[in-house]
Symmetry: D2
Subunit: 229 residues, 4 copies
């Protein structure tokens, strides 16, 4: 059987190495083109890549998309901290080939975002999102909390208090969504146990993305729950 050929942008970075490890442990997959910023670009080698995974940096995005567009190679991107400029780039390039971007590649967070939709039925409740991360994390609130907040707002159609952030120790990533009425409290909580969670999600997303015929800007949720028309 032909193996799925992965390209990794930022291959020697922390996430790049994690992704390579997961690919190596995935049947029918291989790390074909591990690429780093300082490497010379090999267009002929890139032509054979089936799918790119990029967790590098906002600055790298433009080159990544431009190069992938040459051969219409699908791209899975897990970089966070994008401004409008980068989001526009994603929109633009995804018109001609499949691009999947999510601020959090974990399956559990995708399920959490999906579960938020059920809160539309109790939109009169009070809501609060909270996240806990290790004391090295600088951005507050986390990109995942921002996405949860956007989805929650869409579901309950009202303004919400800002997400709360706790920083301490080596907590890998906890996100909580509180729904509170006079009579009951509902808490949806996600806890990431290690970094592999994001690498596994990205590889699963890539395997799914190569099967998508249509260009488009996909999310990890589409992998689990199907692309909304």
């Amino acid at each position: 059987m032909k193996k799925l050929k992965f390209g990794i942008v930022g291959a020697s970075g922390r996430m790049g190495q994690e992704i390579a490890k997961v690919i190596e442990n995935t049947k029918g997959a291989e790390v074909f083109y591990p690429f780093d910023r300082e490497d010379k670009w090999d267009s002929r080698k890139a032509a054979q890549v089936d799918v790119w995974i990029d967790f590098s940096s906002p600055e790298a995005l433009k080159d990544v998309l431009k190069r992938a567009s040459e051969h219409k190679t699908p791209v899975v991107c897990g970089t966070t901290g994008f401004s409008k400029k980068e989001k526009d780039l994603l929109e633009k390039y995804s018109k001609t080939f499949p691009v999947l971007w999510s601020s959090n590649m974990s399956l559990g967070v995708a399920v959490l975002n999906e579960a938020l939709k059920s809160l539309a039925a109790i939109s009169h409740f009070d809501f609060q999102i909270e996240e806990i991360h290790h004391n090295k994390k600088k951005d507050k609130p986390s990109g995942t909390a921002i996405t949860l907040q956007e989805n929650l707002k869409k579901a309950v159609q009202k303004d919400l208090p800002e997400p709360l952030a706790i920083r301490g120790g080596g907590v890998f990533g906890i996100h909580k969504v509180y729904s509170m009425s006079d009579e009951e409290v509902l808490v949806f909580e996600h806890n990431a146990l290690n970094r592999t969670v994001f690498a596994k999600g990205a590889v699963q997303a890539a395997t799914w993305l190569v099967k998508q015929k249509k260009p488009g800007l996909y999310q990890i949720r589409d992998v689990l729950f199907g692309k909304k028309a």
Copy 2:
């Protein structure tokens, strides 16, 4: 405006009183026929009732349904501990007029049951349901935990370990659904703060049920998310 006329079965019981209080605080609603087991049945008065609420006992169910069927008056029933016999009665009578039965009338638990569907996407996870109730509660696990377990099984299509039960103090009712993989843990948790939660849900369900034209066996979830065909 004409007020919605409520009948209450077991009106002097703990839940009956709670329900009466909620109805009295609901605009456009009145307690029209508070009925207790020892009362003589007044068929003419019953004819004017718009909707019955019954939280009395499994033994009472047959009479409740039979009497309601006389005038096709909708019935909201929150009694638990039903055997197959009572469930068959619900099925039978609901063929000719609207009946709504749920083991837990809280909106939050209905949302929790709905949110369980999203777990179908991660059915390879390990799952565990847990409940905590006050030390006076005798049945283990709670009726709500049993319903959650049934819905979770339906969603993830596999066998699950038995729900765990903790008994202590005056805890009103906590239910947790754990979803666990090697990389992440998702917890959906519901916490009832007081008894009113069930009365409020029942009254809201009754207000909705009187508008249903079709006979049928409804659940609290249908009130929030629409009846599945």
Copy 3:
């Protein structure tokens, strides 16, 4: 057996009524002098009171202490929102008769404050206090969170981030203390189920206070763990 004669300041208020109910359900205790602001003060009746309980308001404190001092009647005070002025009054009057003041009368919170001492052994961890209360509560953070923060600071001897506050629904009162290192997370959490918790604690404190021979400013922790010299 002679019954313990309770005086209640603010007897018709929400907490006053709750306290009266607990006293009535306590063997060997009676509500002897329920007093409200608008009542005329009856000094002869007050002379027979064994112990006062006051949850009224900061403004009332001076009168309460002055009147109690007449007969050296012990006072249990659960009022919050005291400025330095009121705290000085407590100090002053407690030099001549026993006064017990706590921002939170629950036994569980007293245990939580005691348990914080064990965190001195891991003072290199990161810490964060968090509280959740109903959406009617205006002060942020809660008086209890402030006391926990003071005790935590004393235990770990370092600066701490401000307590976080969530407001929503009818949550009666949740307090959490997070201790986080690179390898582990410890959470101490207290959840008040109802208002009775404070009334019960106050009555238990009063029963204990009448047995204290020495004047002094006591806390609910002294009731459980003994007065520190």
Copy 4:
């Protein structure tokens, strides 16, 4: 400065490697004698070891203690699953040189065990211990839960329900102690984020143990809170 010379029993095992890594990252410490079952025992080398760490197996304990006793070298032992026979060995050998044994070497669990003492003040509450571990863990409940249960029993002086155990995914180790009354719930919760927590605790314990002049059977709690007479 002279470095502290560590011996590791089971050096090539999973915990042995973890311990070696922590020692290498500890200033003033070195892995001097990494020993495995199949190795030939080098008594002259062993004579220079300052402290042994052993996480190998119950079967190995007798040899470990016998060999350490030759030079009265202190031993830190983190092996679990000991029967009365092994516990007797610990008692016997610790009469002539310092031995420290704990079923859980984490600082946080030691603090949790210490915090349990404060529950003596509310011994009329209901209690429940619960633990969650990965789906590969076979023993139920965990050794740590058993130790917590013993300490809790000692504190509250009454019978307790059996600890509850949840198995799922890759959860590294969660322990909860519930204290519940009609009015409040207190939860003490510990969450281990990775395996390093035990290695770090063991190395810290060893550094402390070499300074103990007196023979005796110590625990990790003594490192943090001082040996009880």
